[in-house]
């Protein structure tokens, strides 16, 4: 009753006030997910920035669907030379940017040069193998990349790079910054939606408007969404309430498992559940005692209650993952058995470790990300179980910048810490490759400081080999070795939980982008 009253008042208010365009259109889609710190797609690459990357910009290739398929997007096709060093891309013709100008190969060259010179966020996938001068236009619609060494994941990293419009940026360059200051609050893209610059407030509000001349057209979607208002909600409990009231149409993709039933029960809302590619991992610093002893590590591995955490605390909304790569990704050995919770076995390993001289008397420190409830819960549960094995665990609240800042050296890296490894690009290189190859020591992904020459050899071969079957075999072998050594504890693969109002149709999940691709959506009212 009250809800109808409120809606009636809103409608009256909308009609009564002098409006510009919205009087007859349906209520805009209100997206309650987190906003990135900047709109510049070359300055940042994290989960929130994917929303901008997918909706406002386009890349040469793009991931679609679940399991993710790599599809040609701004490019029509590509060829690669036998030695894997020269990649040629043929671009689609007639792609328009938001300002109406047509995309050419020079724009692609500009975009890559900008990315590599700014050397931030998404550049990390390319800088080891690609120099800015090596990106050239070989024709009005063809681009050539010459790598310094063969890099098999090169294609799968393509979607990370947004193609920007140099004509929009050029008038706004100040102090040689490639227009970064301007692009942080504006857009220069070709994507399905364009940014309404006047309403943007960093981290608070973003409005995007449908681009009628989008190169893929709108034939596939009879009633596309015209306007999207992104309004992040800071607190989890407020966000869920806002969804239930219909004030926002979507939450972020980390809906707490405890809230799922509530959102499902409500007539107006539902929960979208999709298996993603995001592995919850407990890291151990393999260069510090007692973690430099394999039995000690196995002792801890068997002392974590996987069933209890996944099925009771997280209510079964996750999938047990045996190794560092997500289950649903290629490159896993077919018969990989996950470690099980077995305190007897744990004690056995600990005794063996003690016999070899390992000292368990000092309390081990586990660093958790305070803002992320699951890391704290996992640590507390682990702490209680480790007591039964005679190990004292001390929980240290920390933050992401705090922890990742300390992983540059093994002396400052924490004993243990908990995090997820998200999908930056869909390739085992993103997981086992960058986590367990010793050349990545000093980055947060490789913060277990694991070092195994055989594994290094396999991973490096996989990185440069262009044959999919060969890479599959190499990664599977490397994963098998890594899991046997148990340098870390892999717990689950995420099931993406996003709350949506039922009026949102066409939500299509992909691990890259978490389903935030608005062009596929429509509203029923």
């Amino acid at each position: 009753m009250k809800r109808h009253l409120l809606r009636a008042c809103l409608a009256f208010g909308l009609l009564a006030a002098p409006q510009v365009t919205q009087a007859q259109a349906p209520r805009p889609l209100v997206w309650g997910d987190t906003l990135p710190a900047t709109l510049d797609p070359h300055a940042i690459f994290d989960v929130p920035s994917q929303f901008v990357l997918l909706n406002v910009y386009d890349g040469l290739y793009r991931y679609q669907g679940n399991p993710p398929r790599l599809e040609p997007w701004l490019a029509e096709s590509h060829t690669v030379s036998a030695d894997g060093l020269t990649w040629d891309f043929t671009l689609r013709a007639g792609v328009r940017f938001h300002d109406g100008s047509v995309m050419t190969a020079e724009d692609v060259v500009y975009s890559f040069r900008r990315l590599l010179t700014m050397n931030r966020g998404p550049a990390s996938a390319f800088t080891p193998v690609l120099a800015p001068e090596r990106v050239t236009a070989t024709g009005p619609l063809s681009v050539r990349f010459v790598l310094s060494s063969a890099y098999a994941p090169f294609l799968s990293a393509m979607p990370l790079v947004a193609i920007v419009n140099p004509r929009a940026i050029a008038p706004n360059v100040a102090n040689n910054d490639w227009g970064a200051a301007w692009l942080a609050v504006n857009s220069a893209g070709s994507g399905a939606y364009s940014v309404v610059a006047g309403n943007y407030q960093t981290r608070v509000s973003l409005d995007i408007q449908r681009f009628a001349d989008f190169f893929r057209g709108w034939a596939g979607n009879p009633r596309p969404v015209e306007t999207v208002r992104v309004r992040p909600v800071m607190e989890t409990s407020t966000r869920v309430l806002a969804l239930l009231r219909g004030e926002i149409d979507a939450t972020d993709s980390y809906l707490p498992t405890d809230q799922v039933e509530r959102v499902e029960r409500n007539a107006r809302t539902r929960v979208a559940r999709d298996e993603s590619m995001r592995v919850f991992t407990i890291r151990m610093n393999n260069m510090r005692a007692p973690f430099n002893n394999r039995d000690a590590r196995l002792c801890l591995t068997h002392a974590f209650n996987y069933e209890g955490f996944n099925n009771v605390i997280l209510r079964g909304f996750v999938v047990r993952n045996a190794g560092p790569n997500p289950n649903n990704l290629w490159g896993n050995p077919p018969d990989l058995a996950p470690y099980a919770f077995d305190l007897a076995k744990a004690r056995e390993h600990c005794d063996r470790a003690r016999a070899a001289g390992v000292d368990f008397s000092r309390p081990l420190e586990i660093h958790v990300q305070n803002e992320l409830e699951q890391t704290v819960q996992a640590a507390q549960m682990f702490q209680a179980d480790l007591r039964r094995v005679g190990i004292t665990l001390r929980i240290v609240p920390n933050t992401w910048p705090g922890i990742t800042g300390s992983t540059s050296r093994s002396e400052t890296t924490p004993d243990m810490w908990i995090h997820w490894v998200s999908t930056y690009f869909v390739d085992p290189e993103n997981w086992v490759g960058q986590m367990y190859d010793s050349q990545f020591h000093g980055t947060w992904k490789a913060s277990s400081w694991y070092s195994n020459p055989e594994v290094d050899r396999l991973l490096r071969a996989a990185r440069t080999n262009l044959s999919q079957e060969e890479r599959q075999r190499l990664y599977a072998e490397a994963t098998r070795l890594v899991v046997a050594d148990a340098p870390d504890i892999w717990v689950y693969n995420t099931v993406n939980l996003r709350g949506l109002t039922r009026r949102v149709q066409g939500y299509s999940f992909s691990p890259v982008g978490s389903g935030g691709e608005i062009r596929l959506m429509s509203l029923t009212e």
């Binding site: 989890t236 409990s237 405890d258 209650n305 704290v376 702490q383 179980d385 609240p397 705090g402």
Partner: protein, 280 residues
């Protein structure tokens, strides 16, 4: 002792005293009073988020621990933190306020500007920075809270001292040659005491509540300590379904702070002889 007797006549203050004494009793005998004393560090995930029942009077939390036991166990750390911080803040702030209020010129102005600097530093920054220099944890939080709270005492004592400086009895004391320190500590301070006491009791509640926010940012009580503030912070995600998770620790905070404040009020009223005349 007459003060105490007058305190007893005041029902509200007596209630406050009762609450504080009850809390002290619970804190002293916590491990024996709590039905599940191991729930300070145990976790029983199969019984998580159970509503209040006969077995679990206040229900269980997100890791299956008995909230009733944890509230009882948390009384100790709550009292320790609140009292330590306020005492430390007083020990820094009161002398500074006295000195600044008594003297004029650069000494006074300098001290008050110094006070202003600390007043303006946001607590969060100070607490996080200290957390980096020292080890993150409840001790660091206490130091940070004391360092950000002492200016409130300094300002209050400064205002009181200035007010009393013009009083006749102070002039008289100075006239007969009493040393300023003697005047300040034996005469001015007792007269300023009511305002300081009121400020101190407000400080207790403020400390407990601020410690909860610091805990959330990672410079406070660490899990699995049964700290009330930490429990309320942890419970946020489970509201409003598991309402008992936040409600009972929140109520515990409420009643303890209520007790301290009512007691402080009553002490103030009872200690001020002039007020006793005026029961109109």
């Amino acid at each position: 002792m007459t003060a105490l007797r007058h305190l007893m006549r005041d029902p509200v203050a007596a209630f406050g005293l009762l609450l504080v004494l009850f809390a002290l009793f619970v804190a002293a005998f916590a491990p024996w009073l709590a039905p599940f004393p191991d729930d300070a560090f145990e976790s029983n995930i199969m019984q998580r988020l159970r509503p209040p029942s006969r077995e679990f009077l206040f229900g269980t939390d997100n890791l299956g621990r008995d909230i009733f036991s944890r509230v009882i166990l948390g009384t100790r750390s709550a009292l320790l933190v609140a009292v330590s911080v306020v005492l430390a803040a007083m020990m820094i702030g009161v002398p500074i306020g006295l000195l600044a209020g008594w003297r004029d010129g650069w000494v006074s102005e300098g001290l008050m500007r110094f006070t202003d600097v600390f007043l303006a530093v946001p607590q969060l920054i100070l607490a996080l920075a200290l957390g980096q220099l020292l080890a993150p944890g409840i001790f660091t939080a206490m130091v940070a809270l004391a360092l950000t709270y002492w200016p409130f005492f300094a300002r209050t004592v400064f205002a009181e001292t200035r007010r009393l400086r013009g009083a006749l009895f102070v002039d008289a004391l100075a006239g007969i040659g009493a040393h300023p320190a003697r005047i300040l500590f034996l005469h001015v301070l007792p007269n300023a005491a009511p305002a300081v006491l009121v400020r101190a009791t407000i400080g207790m509640g403020f400390t407990i509540l601020t410690a909860a926010i610091l805990g959330f940012l990672g410079v406070g009580a660490t899990p699995p300590t049964p700290d009330w503030g930490l429990a309320v912070a942890e419970a946020r995600q489970h509201l409003p379904d598991a309402w008992w998770f936040a409600t009972f620790p929140g109520l515990a905070i409420l009643f303890l702070v209520l007790g301290f404040n009512l007691l402080g009020d009553g002490l103030r009223d009872a200690a001020d002889p002039r007020l006793r005349r005026s029961r109109h």
